[in-house]
């Protein structure tokens, strides 16, 4: 059983090492995307006219294929992990902005007035009232961004073996070892499902007021925002 997970030495990593690398390459960009998206989304909420152009720019950015994105960056960042991570960060930013904007906008007027009446300033109101209410929408975005990011890292293999688990694909082809290819595909899929499950768990922990026990993921996703707005749309975009 143990030799099943043996790696060719040119990968310079154990299987678990590759898994760790894969998680880092996939999730750090998502985090970066979220950090950038929060202020951008807040600006879009504040200045209504800003939202349509921002949506346009993000749609166009999202249309740029990952491989093309990677390749153009090689000139600046070389064949390194960063080259893989920058496009992933941009894609997750694109997913987050509409999710957060719609989440924050969905906070009822009365709730905001109540918070103001209780003496909350704009910052405290944003952090303590708007963000928690937007949390389900943000988590829906997090799930989509993380899962597609995990799937996309593999393509990094094409630019100088920077694809973590994806590098196994190349080794599998060169050494004619289907086992390595299986390890890569199944490993990536399992990783995506596990991360998704962790995010669902986190959301349940962080939003105790939301109904739970309906079980199915679909309920959680659509229940987050009953009417499908543009956010729900953006969230449909699967892995590229």
């Amino acid at each position: 059983m143990t030799e099943f997970f043996d790696m060719p030495s040119d990968l310079q990593n154990s299987y678990l090492g590759l898994v760790g690398l894969h998680l880092r390459e996939a999730l750090l960009p998502v985090l970066a995307g979220l950090l950038v998206a929060l202020p951008v989304a807040q600006l879009c909420v504040r200045l209504r006219w800003l939202y349509p152009p921002v949506l346009w720019v993000t749609t166009v950015l999202y249309a740029i294929p990952s491989l093309a994105f990677f390749v153009v960056l090689i000139d600046y960042t070389g064949m390194s992990e960063i080259t893989v991570m920058i496009p992933l960060a941009v894609y997750s930013l694109v997913v987050f902005v509409p999710a957060i904007v719609d989440g924050v906008r969905s906070v009822p007027r009365e709730t905001l007035d109540a918070a103001t009446a209780m003496g909350f300033g704009p910052v405290r109101r944003y952090v303590l009232v708007q963000l928690p209410i937007a949390a389900p929408a943000i988590f829906a975005g997090l799930r989509v961004a993380s899962v597609s990011s995990i799937s996309l890292v593999s393509v990094g293999m094409l630019i100088g073996n920077q694809g973590a688990l994806g590098n196994l694909l190349n080794s599998g082809m060169i050494y004619n070892q289907p086992r390595l290819v299986w390890l890569s595909v199944v490993g990536t899929a399992v990783l995506a499902v596990l991360v998704d499950a962790v995010l669902i768990g986190l959301r349940v922990l962080l939003t105790p007021w939301m109904p739970r026990g309906t079980g199915k993921t679909g309920r959680a996703r659509t229940g987050a925002d009953a009417r499908p707005g543009p956010a729900a749309l953006a969230l449909k975009d699967a892995a590229r």
């Binding site: 799937s151 688990l165 290819v181 595909v185 679909g218 449909k236 975009d237």
Partner: protein, 222 residues
């Protein structure tokens, strides 16, 4: 040297515009893969999405399928099928279809669900048959959302068809993969630019299709 120089050099070299490895050939190949995969995915996703959306059953199952489809790495899946099945169209088409079906399926379902129930009831009250209700009332209202699902599927196919070159297929990925092996950076960047332009063209095509097919009344309210 920057990217723009490479782009300029690639496109001004007349050798890149003709023959077996010329830009027109590769673009046509790419369009061919895209249309084929999109066609199959739409043939699978649209009817199922319309029916489940119309009846309102199976939403949870669809969401599960979408999550599962998203979790499967298309690039890995393609290499795996290539190793298992050998050279052929199937290893390229299957991952592209697997990639494109979930967005079509889920958006179509959600689009049908989000149709205002009042006009649907009115149509039934006027004695329309179920099929008429579906095609003449629900579908036109749901069309913009359905198109957006098809659009994201199409864009994903365009960008993912690039990796087909890795398993010795043609298309625009050929320039990127070959260029990387030959350390011909001009070719790589040229290929990447072509793919990006094609993805943006897809956006434009869908915008135009939306203008032409979505009824004016629906557009105004949306």
């Amino acid at each position: 040297m920057n990217v723009l120089n490479f782009v300029d050099a690639f496109f001004s070299d007349s050798a890149h515009w003709q023959g077996y490895d010329g830009i027109p050939t590769r673009v046509l190949e790419h369009i061919q893969y895209t249309l084929m995969a999109l066609g199959i995915a739409a043939a699978v996703g649209l009817p199922v999405g319309l029916l489940t959306g119309h009846t309102g059953r199976g939403g949870n199952t669809l969401a599960l399928i979408a999550t599962a489809g998203r979790a499967l790495p298309s690039f890995g899946l393609m290499v795996l099928l290539f190793v298992l099945l050998g050279l052929g169209m199937a290893p390229v088409m299957i991952p592209l279809v697997v990639l494109a079906v979930p967005p079509i399926l889920v958006t179509t379902y959600e689009a049908m669900r989000s149709v205002d129930p009042a006009p649907v009831d009115a149509a039934r009250g006027m004695g329309m048959a179920e099929a008429e209700v579906l095609f003449r009332v629900e579908l036109p209202v749901a069309l913009p959302l359905i198109l957006s699902g098809l659009r994201s599927a199409a864009i994903q196919i365009v960008s993912t068809a690039t990796i087909a070159a890795y398993v010795s297929f043609g298309g625009l990925g050929r320039y990127i993969v070959d260029g990387l092996y030959q350390r011909d950076y001009e070719k790589v960047v040229g290929g990447a630019t072509l793919v990006a332009v094609m993805a943006l063209t897809t956006l434009a095509v869908f915008w135009a299709v939306g203008r032409l097919t979505v009824s004016r009344g629906v557009r105004r309210s949306g």
